[in-house]
């Protein structure tokens, strides 16, 4: 077995030191009736690297990779180009095979990366501070709602209809167990998000308003107006960003008045990966620092006065506070945070703006072209790189038919909202700098055929 260094001679010598006759004897504490005496039946034995690779390659080949066809999916996961440098850096063994930096003297690499990551996220979001990441955008969204409850000592959250339905469902699951009351609604296929409806729901018992920016249909809500309305009632505005590249061209939620900004960092450096692992981003006002969930890295000095970094404010966490912790979260998404940070470092502010501009241009070209397909209407007045269209047919079936024609043509709203009949004709289309003019033409042609 290539991963096990002990030889039989080693094992015998070690058993002699221990004073045991066999490895099985070391398991004497296991009750005999539960002790297995041989490998579990019905499962294959060990396999060579070549054999395993072949098996996995066969499974991999039985998928349509996004990069192999015209591709227009978004809805919370976006395909941007990732420079080769990113994957090279995250495969450095000193990053890949390190643990959570509990021994800061020999973990300054990871810690400095986290400090830089926190600063990048805070600047991108326009918040005072940010944490060292959470599992993903959906869990970060719930953590923000829970934190708003702790800060305001209220338990009623208003979730805008534009919030990604998986984020809503994740929050709904958690709220069932914490007693938080969530006001939930579905989006409508109209040109602008109904900010007034959100504002009208805020009252003196509202802990927070949760608004996605851009929203699940790609529309861009007026965060400043919602922030002002929320704060006037003593509630917090939580902005949710599922496509952080948008902030290369749009004002940051923090600068528009959001108190907490959370998001999905996957679009920058992480890749699609069929949904995970992803990267939960979390930023907020400095005054909430002791209420933030998850890990925080802070600057300090060592015994010689040199600058260094440590995990800090850990008394909020589960291993100290146990049942009084701010959250039960134990890990962050360290390696994904590194990937995000390396990609963001390669881009810089100007590069991010360029990537965003190209993505927006491709989306615009796609919208213009699809608008000419008979029966298709573009919904959005404003958008960044994703927009909704309405089709004359059930969009779920159209998407499957497009796939048969080797085009991955977007995400049907029917998949996301299976119970909402008014949305069944809706299709979400996303474009990025990876989208080519040929891809756009292929989508339009295939759609014309499917709808004909």
């Amino acid at each position: 077995m290539r991963y096990l260094p002990l030889t039989d001679a080693d094992r015998s010598a070690m058993l002699a030191v221990i004073g045991a006759g066999s490895i099985d004897e070391l398991f004497a504490d296991v009750p005999e009736q539960a002790r297995l005496t041989a490998p579990i039946a019905g499962l294959p034995n060990h396999a060579s690297e070549m054999t395993v690779e072949r098996h996995m390659a066969r499974l991999s080949a039985n998928n349509v990779a996004a990069g192999s066809v015209p591709f227009f999916l978004g809805a919370g996961a976006y395909r941007h180009h990732i420079p080769a440098t990113v994957d090279h850096m995250i495969q450095r063994g000193e990053f890949l095979t390190a643990y959570t930096p509990y021994q800061p003297e020999i973990a300054q690499g990871t810690l400095q990366v986290l400090f830089e990551f926190q600063t990048q996220v805070a600047r991108l979001f326009g918040t005072d501070i940010a944490n060292a990441s959470l599992y993903d955008g959906s869990t970060a969204c719930w953590e923000a709602i829970a934190m708003a409850g702790r800060i305001t000592r209220r338990n009623k959250a208003v979730l805008s209809g534009g919030l990604h339905p998986h984020y809503v469902e994740t929050s709904r699951t958690m709220a069932k167990f914490t007693g938080d009351v969530l006001d939930i609604s579905n989006p409508e296929l109209v040109a602008d998000p109904d900010d007034d409806a959100v504002i009208a729901k805020i009252d003196g018992e509202t802990s927070c308003v949760v608004v996605q920016y851009p929203d699940v249909l790609g529309r861009i809500p007026d965060l400043a107006a919602i922030a002002a309305a929320a704060q006037a009632k003593g509630a917090l505005l939580i902005a949710v960003v599922t496509e952080p590249v948008a902030l290369g061209l749009l004002e940051s939620p923090g600068s528009l008045g959001a108190d907490i900004v959370v998001g999905e960092g996957q679009a920058i450096g992480v890749g699609l990966q069929f949904g995970g692992p992803y990267l939960g981003l979390f930023g907020c006002r400095e005054k909430f620092v002791r209420q933030i969930p998850g890990r925080l890295c802070g600057e300090t000095i060592d015994a010689d006065g040199k600058r260094g970094f440590v995990l800090t404010l850990s008394t909020r966490e589960q291993h100290i506070r146990r049942e009084k912790a701010t959250s039960n979260i134990c890990t962050n998404s360290g390696l994904c945070a590194l990937a995000f940070s390396v990609h963001m470092t390669l881009l810089g502010g100007a590069g991010l703006a360029n990537m965003a501009k190209l993505s927006h241009l491709r989306a615009k070209q796609t919208a213009e072209r699809l608008g000419k397909v008979p029966g298709v209407a573009v919904v959005n007045r404003h958008y960044f790189n994703e927009f909704a269209v309405t089709l004359p047919k059930d969009a779920r079936q159209v998407v499957r038919n497009l796939a048969d024609a080797q085009v991955l043509g977007g995400v049907s709203l029917g998949r996301l909202y299976p119970q909402v009949d008014t949305l069944s004709g809706g299709l979400l289309i996303a474009a990025t700098e990876c989208t080519t003019e040929d891809d756009i033409a292929a989508l339009a042609t295939a759609l014309e055929e499917v709808l004909a």
């Binding site: 002990l6 890949l96 990048q120 600047r123 469902e169 890749g271 069929f274 590069g351």
Partner: protein, 518 residues
């Protein structure tokens, strides 16, 4: 006040003079290179990415929130980027460099095949919402791993989506809660042994339960009498770690499980230490109803400096119907069906909901599956055997120089536990741990579990060679002797690392979490 400083942990910078380094102009010391912050060396208009020229075009579709200026994020060219992160990486300790005996964390070798597999385009470059017909291979990989996990644990089903161990604990408790509520019998209390991981009580409290602690016996196991005495109609369940955090097998788990079931409760097993028994014991045979499996521990997906993890939860027949969406099911024709919100009311009506967006940690599933297929049923059995052998070898090679509180009671499982008993006055576990850094090792887990004073928990794992362990044991013996003798130099260790002890008080009193221009 509650429990003042229960572990004896006292962070201190350490005193004592050390020989001055030879000063250099740069502050570098040969291969040990200092690296400035990105914000000190980068610039917003510098970039390591080239894009096609973007023509000027009408930006009005962005609406009124269009940015006036690019975000204030410094960039670097590609060579500068590579150098920045390479230099930083060299300030980290890692499994790739040496023994990483962090008890309870299972730092074993991460096979490189698994990295290659995870990057295959059919796994890495597929979107979670692609039509199901275009992702059959990815779904098949998830399903294949699920089948392995169920068979290895002797359970009935598995919820794949939890994103880490703590998330898995939450998933398991939510299943328990959903099952009890379905019976119209919501209960209030979860019993947790005092040696448990801190996540257990945090999770139970989060799931809305009152946590009651159960004491340990003198030999480091759950006090069965105290636990069974507390059982009653208000107890929703127990959370037990097996093997436990003292590195011991809970011999009475089946007895406990039977007693809990008899009063209508459920048994949650913290599977953080499943690597010690994989292939040798099936938790399902011990009466467990739910157990999370840290793929990043038992099945060696890389820890990545603190995540991402993955924590699928295997479930008993009683709890499986309540597991979260989505999940996969293999059809008669071999294709895989994905059951999400759309079909849930037909095929999984009692699901407690969704734990996260999409399908969980795909990148971890493929790595874990490659690891499992490489080892096979026989190799996994050897994994637990060698892990336990290595731990006992460390235990018996050190128990004459370090106090091993549970050593006399018999063999340990995959980790060896020592206390600070016998150290010279003023010398602590922390000093020994920091001394280990100068010897070129990552310290063991310190001050956990709390039930042992100045605890040192050593988990060598099965991927360490005997020669590697012998050198580690030599270093530990030397450090133990210095701690007993009262070697002052130990109190200010480490002396040779990129940084000396860091001022954690300063960091916590005036938190500085982001870079601000001077």
């Amino acid at each position: 006040m509650n429990e003042i400083n229960p572990s004896g942990w006292r962070p201190a910078l350490g005193a004592g003079s050390v020989p001055r380094e030879i000063e250099t102009f740069t502050g570098n010391r040969a291969l040990q290179l200092e690296e400035a912050l990105l914000f000190e060396i980068g610039a917003a208009d510098r970039s390591g990415v080239d894009f096609d020229d973007v023509p000027d075009f009408d930006l009005s579709a962005l609406g009124p929130n269009a940015r006036k200026a690019a975000p204030d994020l410094p960039g670097l060219s590609e060579p500068e980027t590579v150098r920045h992160y390479t230099r930083l990486s060299r300030q980290n300790y890692a499994i790739d460099l040496g023994v990483f005996p962090l008890g309870s964390c299972t730092m074993k070798h991460n096979p490189r095949l698994d990295e290659k597999v995870a990057r295959m385009p059919g796994f890495a470059d597929v979107h979670p919402l692609q039509p199901v017909q275009t992702v059959q291979g990815a779904l098949s990989a998830i399903n294949e791993l699920a089948v392995w996990l169920v068979k290895l644990t002797g359970m009935h089903g598995v919820a794949m989506t939890p994103k880490a161990g703590a998330h898995g604990e939450l998933c398991g408790l939510l299943c328990i809660r959903a099952a009890l509520e379905a019976k119209g019998d919501p209960r209030e209390v979860i019993l947790v042994p005092e040696s448990a991981h801190g996540t257990n009580p945090a999770t139970a409290a989060f799931a809305g339960y009152r946590v009651e602690n159960i004491p340990a016996t003198a030999d480091g196991r759950v006090d069965v009498a105290a636990l069974t005495a507390r059982l009653g109609p208000d107890v929703a369940g127990v959370m037990i770690t097996n093997p436990n955090t003292c590195g011991l097998f809970e011999r009475d788990l089946k007895v406990i499980a039977d007693a809990v079931h008899a009063v209508g409760g459920y048994v949650y097993c913290d599977g953080a230490n499943f690597n010690a028994i994989v292939g040798r014991v099936r938790p399902g045979d011990l009466g467990v109803d739910a157990m999370h499996i840290n793929l990043h521990k038992t099945f060696s997906t890389p820890h990545g400096g603190g995540g991402p993890g993955s924590g699928p939860v295997v479930l008993s027949e009683a709890l499986a119907p309540f597991g979260p969406l989505p999940f996969t099911s293999r059809q008669a024709d071999g294709s895989i069906k994905l059951i999400e919100e759309e079909d849930a009311h037909l095929e999984h009506p009692q699901a407690f909901g969704r734990l996260c967006a999409f399908h969980g940690q795909m990148g971890m599933y493929t790595r874990a599956l490659a690891y499992i297929l490489s080892h096979g049923a026989d190799g996994l059995r050897q994994v637990s055997g060698d892990a336990v052998l290595n731990a006992n070898y460390v235990l018996r090679s050190l128990d004459d120089v370090l106090d091993a509180p549970f050593g006399p009671a018999g063999h340990c499982m995959h980790e060896a536990l020592f206390s600070d008993d016998g150290f010279a006055d003023g010398f602590s576990t922390l000093d020994l741990a920091k001394g280990l850094i100068d010897e070129g090792y990552h310290p063991m887990t310190v001050y956990f579990p709390l039930v042992v004073h100045g605890a040192m928990l050593i988990e060598p794992t099965e991927t360490e060679s005997k020669a590697g362990l012998d050198q580690f044991i030599g270093a530990m013996r030397s450090l133990a002797e210095r701690a007993v003798a009262g070697d002052e130099m130990l109190k200010s260790a480490p002396h040779l690392a990129p940084r000396r002890r860091l001022d954690e008080t300063l960091a916590a009193r005036k938190p500085k979490l982001v870079y601000k221009d001077a």
